[in-house]
Symmetry: D2
Subunit: 118 residues, 4 copies
């Protein structure tokens, strides 16, 4: 097939960022009061990595509330609680990627949504 | 030896919190602009866990600056960049513990500093 | 209260190891075929840390099987799947600690079981 | 630009796996005796994830030896110690990706090496 191109690289970098985000932050002790702060911090952290053009993270408060331990009042961040929208810019290519919980598959699905040329 | 007592439990819980903090957050992508935000978030996260009375986290900005990759402008949080002071309250016992970088041993040392009865 | 003693230090180190184990390895992609190998590797890894006298890890295969995603055939290591028995030796003191899933509390409980003088 | 295609998806999945591997396993306590065992376990763990056709991991023993703490005889797995070769198969497309330490950039570089049609 053809040589590796900028489109490949943009999409590859988007995958790296979502995989990194997931395995760095899943397991973080949380309660419903700190979700916004944590979401902003994850955005900042992944945002310092190469080629990230923008990132938006939200955490499902309802799911967190349901998961909080009755006795201890907290739970841990799980992949299915996360919704992430990410844009990676590599040279002239923008890859839009997403992570969101797929209820039917019961799985935090990562996907490429759109690829643009600037 | 004597039965497990509240002092043992307070000190044990302090150890758990420092071990958890270390292995949850080491590896987080960072730059010098986001250190305060990250430190507050780590305090909040560890603070939701059982028996934490207070916690104060700081990250060594000078070390981060030295470690930032020249080309990409970021690095990862390392244990030796962290300074943590923690108080655990178990029943009537307060255990004061600390993590800080020991230059001589080149090691992020965790230690119990003081044990108080309320 | 009295000065920090070897008993405090042994118990504190046991807490550190359990907190570290939990937050390092929770999130690891697993299936039922690789549980023994992973358990041995976790024992080795925590075993290289200071003051660990012995450690035994097992992972609940039934829980893993139930958690495996239908479509993708794997899941992630969770705290409640782990059973850990740990001995820490600090000077002349052995602290026996454990992590195991408490069904009633629905929580992976860590506890000190026994403290011995050698 | 054109719709998301199988080539995009293969490359994206390869990125996810490398990002996941890095942030799951960096920080693991290690010494030079356990590197092969850990490398096999990482291969198994990433290998259970969707679309992984093959994976080969090695850990730089020389770098580990240099990093081992003098007093405590161990260190932590760092990104630059890892060499990973990965093949992802998505439908009829194989993406070959790699992570290896780039000395000049002082950075654990991830890259797509080749894309094949089956």
């Amino acid at each position: 097939m053809s040589e590796i191109n900028n489109r490949d690289r943009a999409v590859f970098e988007a995958g790296i960022k979502l995989g990194a985000l997931y395995h760095q932050f899943v397991g973080t002790p949380i309660n419903t009061d700190m979700l916004d702060g944590l979401a902003r911090m994850i955005e900042e952290s992944i945002g310092v990595q190469p080629f990230v053009r923008s990132i938006s993270v939200s955490i499902d408060a309802e799911m967190v509330e349901k998961n909080q331990n009755q006795e201890f009042g907290y739970c841990e961040l799980e992949g299915r609680m996360l919704h992430v929208s990410l844009q990676v810019l590599y040279k002239n290519i923008i890859a839009h990627a997403e992570m969101s919980y797929d209820e039917e598959k019961d799985y935090p699905l990562m996907s490429v949504k759109k690829i643009e040329e600037m």
